[in-house]
Structure formats: structure tokens, C-alpha cells
């Protein structure tokens, strides 16, 4: 078995085969992947990370494909992480996004990876954030995350993006209202896709009303509502311009730094929690001893915990 550290250099050179392998190591939390990520994290930080979320069928994958085409026409490289739910019953999954994205099939400047929610061993959010690090370190200019905006894990993932677009479509009724409401806080841009269909302007009006009620404070980014027809590319170049404007705005207003720090805080906490909890389980001698002492009332839980974590 190839060790993660053997391919770090090839990942840094942006070689697709190595990047693909590293993403598998990240997803499986293979031995040695932490050391590889330590190197990769130091090389990352220059990609623009976009998050696209919204209900199934709203055209996210089609939009990702159209955006990728646009960025490629500007000579920029694109990495896509498309997250799809796994079957609760078998743990298997059919990852459909390749169909919508296959027209980039033989362009080495577009790297597409399908991620099943259960493939990440329950640690979807962390695996996805590490996957972003891999693509970023490989020199990818634009990383696009596609998720179905439902569970907390997906919301965590999408929060790692610098620019989050929430995609809706005309005439999908109350479900979409609920999804939009749930994702309102994370949206930097609202996209009404399938604008070729009836009712697009009504959806725009509804969103505008919802945003108006959400009490923006002065000095905040003014969340735009943007219409696209992903299927034929209409509005896609403008949408990319909106994403770029958002990144510029964040940089100017210190928001980019704030988000990066928030993201760093989340990641440090996740890992720290894991490091600590890994020592706090039956079978670890010190923990078993603490269990004995607390059960026999010779010490108390807080004192035992303090001693175990060294504070």
C-alpha cells in the first residue's frame, strides 16, 4: 500500500493521480494521512472556495459544470467536491454528478470527485475540509463544493466555503421555503436557477422579501439574488463575477480573515476533541483507573477528568 507521504510531492505538483489517491486517504483516514495533511495545509490557502447548496434537482451539478467551463475559459483550474447521500440501508450510493459534469472528462484542469456521505466514516465535515486542503495545496484556483443543504454535517461543510451560494428553482413550494429559511444565514449569494421556467420572477420576489425581513445591519455584504439558466449557461459568467466581487468585498472588509479564523477554530476544536476523547475510553489504563476511583467514590468525576486531561 502506497503511504500518503510518498505522494505528497506529486500532490503539490498538482498531479491528478496523486491528488485522487490522497483524497481517498483523507476519506479513509488512512495511517500517515495526518503527516501528509500537515505539509499540505502549509501549502494551501490560495484557492477561492465556493459552496453551492440547495435541494436535489435544482441544477447544482449543471451549474457547477457551467461555472467550471467559465473558469476554464479564463485559464483557471477547478476542483469539484460533489457530496451525495449514501443509502441508509446498504451504505452504498449512486453518485450521479458525473453525468452532468462529464463534458470536462478529458480536461486535466477540471478535477471532479464524488463523495458519498457515509464514505467519510461519519466524519463527513472533517473529511471534506481536509479534501479542500488537498485540492487547494495542489494549486487548484477555484474549489467548488456541491452539497444538498439538509443535515448539520452538510451545513458545517458549506460553512467552510468562502462564498456560499444557495440555489433554488421556481415553483417548488413549501419545502424549498423551509430549505431556504434554514440556509438563509449561510447564503452570500442566492441563485434562482432554471430561470427559463415560469415563476422565476416570483421566486426572486419571495427571496427579496425574506432577505428584507432578515434585518441586515449596516456595513454587511448585500446578499444579491441572481438568476441563471445553468442548462445553457445564461447568467453564469455574471454569477462568477458576483462570486469574485464577494471575495473582494470580504478581503477589503476583513471578513475573509474573520472567516478563515472561524474555520480554523472549528477545525482545531474538532481535532482537539478527537485527540482528547481518544484517551478517554475503557481499555486505556489511566481511564480505567479513574473509572475505578470514581465508582468507589474515592474521587469525584471532575477531579478525575482534570487529572486525565492534565489541567
Amino acid at each position: 500500500m502506497t503511504a500518503p507521504k510518498e505522494i505528497v510531492d506529486a500532490v503539490l505538483e498538482g498531479r491528478n493521480q496523486a491528488v485522487a489517491r490522497m483524497l481517498t486517504f483523507v476519506e479513509r483516514r488512512s495511517d500517515g494521512v495526518d503527516d501528509a495533511l500537515a505539509v499540505l495545509h502549509r501549502a494551501a490557502g490560495s484557492a477561492h472556495v465556493l459552496g453551492l447548496t440547495g435541494p436535489p434537482g435544482s441544477g447544482k451539478s449543471t451549474l457547477v459544470s457551467a461555472l467550471a467551463r467559465h473558469y476554464r475559459s479564463q485559464g483557471r483550474t477547478v476542483g469539484v467536491l460533489a457530496v451525495d447521500p449514501s443509502s441508509v440501508f446498504s451504505g452504498g450510493a449512486i453518485l450521479g454528478d458525473r453525468i452532468r459534469m462529464s463534458d470536462h472528462g478529458d480536461d486535466a484542469g477540471v478535477f471532479i470527485r464524488s463523495v458519498a456521505t457515509r464514505g467519510a466514516l461519519g466524519g463527513l465535515s472533517r473529511a471534506c475540509l481536509d479534501a479542500i486542503t488537498v485540492l487547494d495545496a495542489a494549486g487548484t484556483d477555484v474549489v467548488i463544493l456541491e452539497t444538498v443543504g439538509v443535515g448539520q454535517a452538510e451545513v458545517d461543510v458549506i460553512s467552510a466555503a468562502q462564498t456560499v451560494a444557495v440555489v433554488s428553482v421556481p415553483g417548488m413550494g413549501d419545502d424549498v421555503q423551509a430549505i431556504k429559511a434554514g440556509l438563509l444565514e449561510v447564503a452570500d449569494v442566492h441563485v434562482v436557477n432554471k430561470a427559463d421556467r415560469d415563476g422565476a420572477s416570483r421566486t426572486v420576489a419571495e427571496l427579496r422579501e425574506m432577505l428584507r425581513l432578515s434585518h441586515r445591519t449596516a456595513g454587511q455584504w448585500n446578499v444579491p439574488i441572481h438568476q441563471t439558466v445553468a442548462a445553457n449557461g445564461d447568467g453564469v459568467a455574471d454569477l462568477a463575477a458576483v462570486f469574485a466581487a464577494h471575495l473582494d468585498w470580504m478581503t477589503e472588509h476583513g471578513e475573509r480573515e474573520r472567516r478563515a479564523r472561524r474555520n480554523a477554530a472549528t477545525r482545531i476544536r474538532w481535532v482537539a476533541e478527537e485527540l482528547v476523547l481518544d484517551e478517554l475510553r475503557p481499555g486505556v489504563a489511566a481511564f480505567d483507573h479513574a473509572l475505578d476511583e470514581v465508582t468507589a467514590h474515592r474521587t469525584d468525576p471532575l477531579s478525575a477528568a482534570r487529572q486525565l486531561v492534565g489541567r
Partner: protein, 139 residues
């Protein structure tokens, strides 16, 4: 570390003119229900597109389904492209569809790990994919 078995990742591809994918979609569901992660490429892909996608997705098994009768030139092209790659991809390749015995031998000689005829039972497909993926996943 979780001890759960990692799902086998399979790409199912349709290459060339053959416009039928009802069968391949049924196979996709069968494999999913057997706990595998399946990535379907859609119809009318080129060998180049399929190989690139399989590398990026880092699959264990690439299954190419062909009903058009063009399997010999297409697989010849696939292995020619693989020879040109800087590094041999790790996935096993299987062929699905209708083909005469002598072609099965020729495909095997080229490097195809298994040939599954059109009437292969779902359980057998699952079993064969598990078989061919085992050595790949250890490597």
C-alpha cells in the same frame, strides 16, 4: 478509527454510440444495494473521458458496458491510453455486454479482469466485482 469495511468504489461507463443504459442502471442499483459506491458516467463517453474520470474518482473497479459490438477497438484504445499514462492506474477493469468467446480470450489477454455477459445474474455480478476488487484494494 472505525472498523467498518470501506465501501468498494465502482465506476460504470458507457462508451461510444451504444445508446442503451437501462441495463447499466439496474446494475448500478444492484451494486448500491450491495453496499458499493457507484459512479455512473452517463452515455456516449470517450475512452479518454472515462479513464480520466476513473482516475479522479480513484475507483477500485471500472466496468465498461458495451452493447454496440465495438468492444475490441474500444478496449484496445483503453489499454493503449493506459500504456501512455505516467503511472498505471490502480483499478481493475471489467467488461460487460455481449461478446463471442474468442473476444473474451483476447480481452483477458489485454488485461480485462472479468467479462460479464449480458445475462449474468445480479448476485454473480456483485461477487465478481468483490473478487476483482480485493487485490486492488490491498495494493
Amino acid at each position: 478509527m472505525d472498523t467498518r469495511e470501506e465501501p468498494i468504489r465502482v465506476m460504470l461507463a458507457k462508451i461510444g454510440l451504444d445508446g442503451h443504459d437501462r441495463g447499466v442502471k439496474v446494475v448500478a442499483r444492484t451494486l448500491r444495494d450491495a453496499g458499493m459506491e457507484v459512479i455512473y458516467t452517463g452515455l456516449h463517453r470517450s475512452p479518454e473521458q472515462v479513464l480520466d474520470a476513473a482516475v479522479q474518482e480513484d475507483v477500485d473497479v471500472l466496468g465498461v458496458s458495451l452493447l454496440s459490438g465495438a468492444h475490441m477497438p474500444i478496449f484496445t484504445r483503453i489499454f493503449q491510453l493506459i500504456d501512455e499514462m505516467p503511472e498505471r492506474p490502480r483499478f481493475a477493469i471489467i467488461a460487460g455486454g455481449v461478446m463471442p468467446d474468442e473476444d473474451v480470450d483476447a480481452l483477458t489477454a489485454m488485461g480485462v479482469s472479468a467479462v460479464l455477459g449480458q445475462d449474468t445474474a445480479p448476485d454473480t455480478i456483485v461477487e465478481r466485482i468483490r473478487d476483482v476488487s480485493a487485490p486492488v484494494r490491498e495494493a
